[in-house]
């Protein structure tokens, strides 16, 4: 056992201890090629999985283009539930979300013969649904520029130290999401509801990856602030009620 806390003993084949090395020293001396190689391997693995998925989507679209209604029914069964979740969370209205999803799927059907294996079906559908949702949101509030909402509604109040949220308080989370600016809500939905990688979510919103990261960071801060304010207001109301 080592007498030096955190030190690592290396020994040769005969079990003779050669040298004690502090973990920090070990990290510093690790060849630079090791760390990037792991990252590159992971990136290549993701890319090959993505490529395989794009090719599978292309094969399915070729069946749809040939008039195979069974293939289109399978496609709808796979994509419609997630797409409906996205549209419903964005629009906070299930009836409107259904219309958006119907329109997106019909447009996909119309595109079937011209489909190119450049992107995943899910990404394309999310892009179409995103534009349709934005159009509907603008129609609801035409006098407000939803692109500017991120600046006008940014709250610089200091963050509270109290615990953020109870894990099972779905109502509070959804109420907070509904109060977010539209694009911030969409950024949250793409990341947390649809579980899209940031690059894909950025392409859905037709913005750069860095811009999406910033938007998502602002959205997370904002939703936490809203929930904290809600909890504080509920706490005050409770105390007032308790005092009678």
């Amino acid at each position: 056992m080592s007498m030096i806390r955190g030190a690592t003993a290396r020994s040769d084949a005969d079990g003779q201890r050669l040298r004690y090395r502090h973990p920090a020293e070990t990290r510093r001396s690790a060849p630079d090629a090791v760390r990037p190689a792991r990252g590159e391997a992971l990136a290549q693995s993701d890319e090959s999985r993505n490529r395989a998925a794009i090719e599978a989507d292309h094969a399915l679209m070729q069946e749809v283009a040939a008039g195979d209604r069974g293939a289109f029914a399978r496609l709808m069964a796979i994509e419609a539930p997630r797409l409906t979740r996205f549209a419903a969370a964005t629009l906070t209205d299930l009836a409107e979300a259904e219309e958006v999803v119907q329109e997106a799927l019909v447009r996909l059907w119309q595109q079937a013969e011209a489909w190119q294996p450049n992107a995943r079906l899910a990404t394309w559908l999310h892009q179409v649904a995103y534009r349709l949702c934005i159009d509907r949101l603008r129609r609801r509030r035409p006098q407000i520029d939803i692109d500017g909402l991120d600046d006008t509604l940014e709250d610089d109040a200091p963050r509270a130290d109290q615990e953020m949220i109870r894990a099972d308080d779905v109502r509070r989370v959804r109420a907070a999401l509904a109060r977010l600016p539209d694009r911030q809500r969409i950024a949250i939905v793409l990341s947390h509801f649809q579980e899209l990688p940031q690059a894909e979510a950025a392409s859905v919103m037709a913005i750069g990856e860095h811009a999406y990261e910033s938007l998502l960071a602002r959205a997370r801060r904002r939703v936490r602030q809203i929930i904290e304010q809600e909890e504080a207001a509920e706490g005050e109301a409770f105390e007032k009620g308790a005092r009678g």
Partner: protein, 151 residues
Amino acid sequence: MNKQGHEDSGARRRALFEAVDRYGPHPGTWPDLARAARAREAMLADRDFRAYRDGAVNLNRGLTLAARALDGEIADAKAMERIAAAVSARVAPAIAPRRHLRHRAAAAAAVIVLAAALGGMVDSIVPPFAGDPVQVVQLDTLVFGPTEGDF
């Protein structure tokens, strides 16, 4: 530590909070490994940072629960059935006139070609009839009398 050192330390600390907002509460997923290492140290040493990070974990959990609740509402409302029916109704008319007529014309042409081919094959396979030809015998009614058919 001098003033510059304090400022650098403060900026680094703020960068950790910002990284939680940008990349999530799990340093293992952050792209900047050095900042991830500082975050792990801060989770042990900085109570405010740990509380902020825990708040992000709770937010993630709440959002996941909200997503599942929405899935349940969508299923209860039978939205998928309505969407599938509406989409099928909108795309179906495009199938019948455009593709069905083409298929029927192709089927009719195939039948004609097949019939012609079979007819040609019958001619080449079945030899001409080699037996006695049918002979028609005309009986002279003056010699043999009228027939029973009486016409």
